[in-house]
Symmetry: C2
Subunit: 138 residues, 2 copies
DNA sequence: CACCGTTGTAACCATTATAGTTATATCTTC
DNA sequence: GAAGATATAACTATAATGGTTACAACGGTG
């Protein structure tokens, strides 16, 4: 069983840190909170930056949110770290035998259902914002 | 990006074959339709058998559904082939720093949201049956 | 009983994504 | 230029997948 990469949960962790910390967080500081190597953090920060979610200051150091935390949804993060490409959570076996009625139809018919299932999950992710998460911290 | 195994789509393919074929299908016949190695088919058949979805006749050969196709949902298949263990589609990074307010809370708070997202997807899968799929074949 | 085609599995391999690590280049301020 | 930070390339170990070969066990048929 292969699960969705921890890159996603780490990215959420990073954004929660940026949203709650008064000062700018450096990669090393974040790495300590996440408990991993700073390079991992910088890799993820690069993706968040590309997605327009954070600002990173090379040289001087530190990062900050580019949007208020109530305007960043889990779906935004999910997309930013590209754990899954669009409509590709499920993989379908390739080149079934098109001589067979099932082999000929299975891909198109299944594809539609699986996309719908993926969309249902993403819809749910889009309902949760970073600010909603940090409101639950104690 | 890691996707959900084709084991799932192959399993659906197999069940559609069993639902539409008049005669019993052998592993080799199914393998030809799926276009893969018979051992792959037998592996998946073993999982479907354990889940009570199919009957397989060793020795004589062939398999058949144990339930009418309108009573087998995509969620049943998804569970049967165990592409993802219960509530574990998403993985969360381990051992965050509990000295940090975010590190201390992130796991519990995120876990709840991710479970909800996964549940939304599974709910959608449970709405589609094998008979619904084959009704769309042409 | 022996044969034959089938299922059931174990063992192994190549491929791929991930998480982590080391090293080095680049940037900004002082 | 020094100091401290980010950016990134290259490499490793690990794990899941899909495929393959090989062989044991099963169950009818001649």
């Amino acid at each position: 069983m292969k699960q969705i990469s921890t890159r996603f949960s780490m990215a959420v962790h990073i954004l929660c840190l940026l949203a709650t910390s008064p000062a700018d967080c450096t990669g090393d500081f974040i790495a300590q909170s996440v408990n991993t190597n700073p390079v991992i953090i910088r890799r993820i920060m690069g993706m968040l930056k590309k997605a327009g979610l954070v600002d990173v200051r090379p040289g001087v150091g530190g990062a900050s949110l580019r949007k208020p935390p109530d305007q960043i949804t889990l779906l935004d993060v999910y997309r930013a770290v590209r754990v899954v490409e669009t409509d590709q959570l499920f993989r379908i076996h390739e080149h079934p035998n098109i001589q067979c009625p099932v082999g000929r139809n299975i891909e198109a018919v299944l594809q539609a259902e699986l996309k719908a299932a993926q969309a249902a999950m993403e819809e749910r992710l889009s309902q949760t914002t970073i600010s909603r998460l940090i409101a639950q911290f104690q």
